[in-house]
Amino acid sequence: MTRTNTSDSLWILPADALPAFLSALAENGELWVPVPVGEGARFLPYREGLPIDLTQTPPAHPAKSILFPHSEVLFTYHRGDDGIPALTVPEFDSRFLVAFGVRSCDLHAINALDAIFLKRSVPDTGYQQRRERLRVIGIACLSPAATCFCDRMGGGPFDTTGMDVQIVPFEESYLFRILTEGGNQLLNPYLDYFQAADEGAIRKIAALEEGTSLQTGQPVDFEDLSQAIKTHNDDPYWEDLANACLGCGICTFVCPVCSCFTLVDEGTPRAGRRVRAWDACMFSTFTKEASGHNPRGAEVARVKQRFFHKFYYCIENEEPPGCVGCGRCVAQCPTSIDIREVIRHYQREGT
């Protein structure tokens, strides 16, 4: 955990100056902010007048959509009179991409997404260009939810991993803590909107940080958990979970790490596009072959796939674990399947 200290570059933005600052920032790049939608909040491209929710902890929808959009056009095809399809790849934006108000859990998830989209085999070009343009203005979590358990998964409410700037809500203002040179370059043109933080403000924020604790348990020993799950392939416990599961896939869509996708063509034989869209290992059609054969046709096979992938396959492949403790799947599962219970079930006593 990074503690506030006076060597950081600290700036105060009055809450009522936030819209003007964001509007100015959005003129020079792509800016994503958490926006209230229904009862949840989701990350959307900023535009003036859009309401922003910096209180929901964490936002109901994960920030992965900024780097891994729910649907993304990979290329378009168009057949001319000669019948030969011409393929066109959409132009990439070259400006910076700012993720504003993202929390520690979603930033730890980016490490896992990097492992999948950049390191696992060939780099995914769309993800890579967004990742390279990404600057993060993260936010500290002053009121973690009852379902949060990032403290067991390597994160924490004030953790700054992956942030260029961290903001801390503070009275009627926000403290901006510049953490990287990228963050410095990002904010530098806009310092007119800010006031330098004085000693009193710094002391109050240090007290806020001291007072915010999340103590849901010991950090998870992933090697241990991985071995325990690997050796319990036939555990009746999986059947219990499968019996509860509706196969709705919500756990995967709200997960900041889950990144299964499908590729689909939209259009006519003459013109259309190939789209990458989110998919879910919890759907029975996910692995169903043209012959009708389905290696994960049974609910229990899919439930196992979800947890085995997160806690065993990732570790076995030396990738970050597939869970960051955001608790969204816990909060949103219609039948209350609780990933914390799965961890507890396979953590050896005393860990």
Binding site: G83, T88, R120, S121, N233, C260, F286, E289, P295
Partner: protein, 277 residues
């Protein structure tokens, strides 16, 4: 234009061969509309696109020594293959490949090779055998014993080539059917039973198996009884795939992806990955 791993190369269908009596298996010979054919090895696969329908993976049926073209043999099965079969010579499709590992040709060097294939999955074995039978690669393996079974004689793929292989040196061909017709003079036997009966020498051999799951399941114990170690038996696997590069999440067997870490695995590896072997 930005190239990315999901952008296919455009390929023209130069020739279509109707392979079997039931007319539901066609071989498509593809030539590039632009660029070169990326070099590949037997056992690898490519994603073939019909624009407006989608993509599906197929093992290369051609061998790398056949320059300037690639071949894929496709059975009419689902939405994509249905549309592919409707296309004529001259039509343009997409190709992303090569993908996946290949047969470990280094492991075959100086070894006798027992090849066991069944049904339509024979395509990738054709690539391997055609490659090893070329003069410049023939020295890479010793004696080749091929077992190839189909339901009835009308279903053999690549019939003219099979006839040529009969005369190849250090090569024995064992074709078998589940049910004969009046012209069939060969054995009527299931593939595993024929392998057991012929009992090829295994002291300095490796085996390659590709076919329908039941054929694989019953052939493996026969090969092990004949003395092959699980590390010397290579199996080409199939799973539903989309991306072909280990990202989309479908084709994993335990922690390994069939598309990226396979499709060729040793029996030893497969036993560590799943309970199915």
């Amino acid at each position: 234009m930005n190239r990315h791993p999901f952008l296919p190369q455009r390929m023209k269908i130069a020739r279509i061969v109707d392979e079997v009596a039931t007319h539901d298996i066609l071989t498509f010979e593809l030539v590039p509309l632009e660029g070169e054919i990326a070099s590949y090895l037997p056992g690898q696969f490519a994603e073939i696109s019909v624009f407006g329908v989608g993509e599906a993976p197929f093992g290369y049926a051609s061998s790398p020594h056949e320059e300037g073209l690639v071949r894929f043999t496709v059975k009419r099965m689902g939405a994509l293959t249905q549309e592919l079969h409707r296309l004529g010579e001259g039509a343009v499709v997409g190709m992303r490949g090569p993908l996946g590992n290949s047969f470990e040709l280094d492991r075959f060097r100086g070894k006798d090779l027992i090849v066991v294939g069944g049904g339509y999955a024979f395509t990738t074995l054709r690539s391997l055998i055609a490659y090893l039978l070329t003069p410049e690669h023939r020295g890479e393996a010793g004696r080749i014993t091929l077992f190839y079974g189909v339901r009835n004689p009308g279903l053999f793929l690549y019939k003219p080539e099979l006839e040529q292989w009969r005369d190849a040196e250090d090569f024995s061909l064992h074709l078998t059917v589940d049910a004969a017709d009046e012209d069939w003079t060969g054995p009527v036997a299931l593939v595993p039973d024929l392998v057991k009966e012929v009992a090829p020498e295994t002291t300095n051999a490796v085996a390659v198996v590709c076919g329908p799951p039941p054929m694989i399941r019953f052939t493996l114990p026969v090969l092990e009884e004949l003395g092959l170690r699980e590390d010397d038996i290579f199996i080409s696997m199939e799973m539903k795939m989309k991306c072909g590069v280990g990202m989309c999440g479908r084709c994993n067997l335990g922690p390994k992806f069939v598309c990226k870490d396979g499709p060729v695995f040793t029996l030893k590896e497969l036993r560590e990955l799943t309970d199915d072997f």
